[in-house]
Symmetry: C2
DNA sequence: TCCTTTAGTTCTTAATAAGAACATTTTACT
DNA sequence: AGTAAAATGTTCTTATTAAGAACTAAAGGA
C-alpha cells in the first residue's frame, strides 16, 4: 500500500512555515519523531495522526492520501484535454498521482521544468540515464 | 479525546452480519484483536484502520468519529425543532452525539424506550438510581 | 568560509498491539 | 428451562514498532 502520509506531513508543515521542531512542539513530542514520520521510516500512531489532521485542518483520509477528492479534478482534466475516458487517454489516475507527487516535491518539479527546456537530444539522453538508474534501483 | 472507533467497528461489523472471526479473516489477523478493538482496549494500527475503512466503505475520519458529517444533520434538527441556534437550545452537538450513541447501542436505546413508557414516578425513580450509579462510577 | 539552524540517522528504551489460551456470555434448539 | 454450540470477552506472554537522546550531515546566511 502506497501511503502519501510522509510526503503530506512534510508538505503541510512547510505550508505552515514550520520547522520540525515547531511542529514537534505543537504535538508535544520530540523532533526526531517528526523527521522519521516525514522520511516514511515510521508511522505516527492514531492519536498523533488525529492531532495532525486538526493542526493542518485536513481530513485524516486526505493526509493518508486515500481519499477520492481527486475524482472531481480528474473530470476537469478530462474535460480540458477532451480525452473522454477512452482507452487511449493518458489522463488517468496515474497522472493525477504524478501531478500530486510533483506538487509536493518542488525540487523534482523544477528539475522537470529544466529538463523540458533542453534540446530534444539532451532530453532523450537524460531520460536514458533516468531509465537505467530506475531499473537499477528497482532491482534492490 | 473521545474516539468512537471501538463502537463504530462493532457497529459496522454487525451491519455486515459478520462475526468477529469473519472480520478477522478479512483482515488476516487473529480474532482476539478484533475483540480488543471493539472493547476500546486497543487501537488498531494505521494499516488495519485503512483496511477497515475500505471494507466498510467509510472514510477513516468517520470510523474515528472525528468528521463533521454531523453538521448538516444538526442544521436539519434545528430546523425541525425551530431552535435556531440560540443559546437556550438543547439541540446541540451533544444531542447528536447522544443520538449517535443510542443508534449504535441498541440495547440502551431499547431501555430508554421502555423507560419512557413508565409512569412519571417510576421514571424519576429510575433516574435517581442512574444518577447515583453514575456518580459512583465516575469517582473511580 | 565559518557559524547557526534545520533536518536526517542510529541506537536504546519504552510503549503497545498481536496472538494463544482460557473464561464467560449469548444463541439456538429441543 | 436445559444443554450444546457459537460468539465474544479477558489474561498473559511475546513480538513489533514507535519514541527519545545523541550524534551526524546538510542547508542557509553573514
Amino acid at each position: 500500500m502506497m501511503l502519501k502520509l510522509a510526503t503530506n506531513i512534510k508538505y503541510y508543515r512547510k505550508q505552515h512555515n514550520w520547522t520540525q521542531q515547531q511542529l514537534a512542539n505543537e504535538l508535544a513530542i520530540s523532533r526526531s519523531v517528526i523527521a522519521k514520520w516525514e522520511s516514511g521510516d515510521v508511522l505516527p500512531d492514531l492519536m498523533a495522526l488525529i492531532k495532525l489532521s486538526r493542526l493542518f485542518n485536513k481530513p485524516v483520509d486526505h493526509l493518508l492520501g486515500i481519499d477520492s477528492e481527486n475524482d472531481q479534478l480528474l473530470n476537469d482534466f478530462q474535460q480540458f484535454y477532451q480525452t473522454n475516458g477512452d482507452n487511449e487517454s493518458t489522463i488517468d489516475e496515474t497522472l493525477l498521482n504524478t501531478i500530486d507527487y510533483l506538487v509536493k516535491n518542488p525540487l523534482l518539479k523544477e528539475q522537470i521544468e529544466r529538463l523540458s527546456h533542453l534540446s530534444i537530444k539532451q532530453q532523450k539522453a537524460v531520460q536514458r540515464i533516468l531509465q537505467t538508474t530506475l531499473n537499477e534501483a528497482e532491482r534492490l
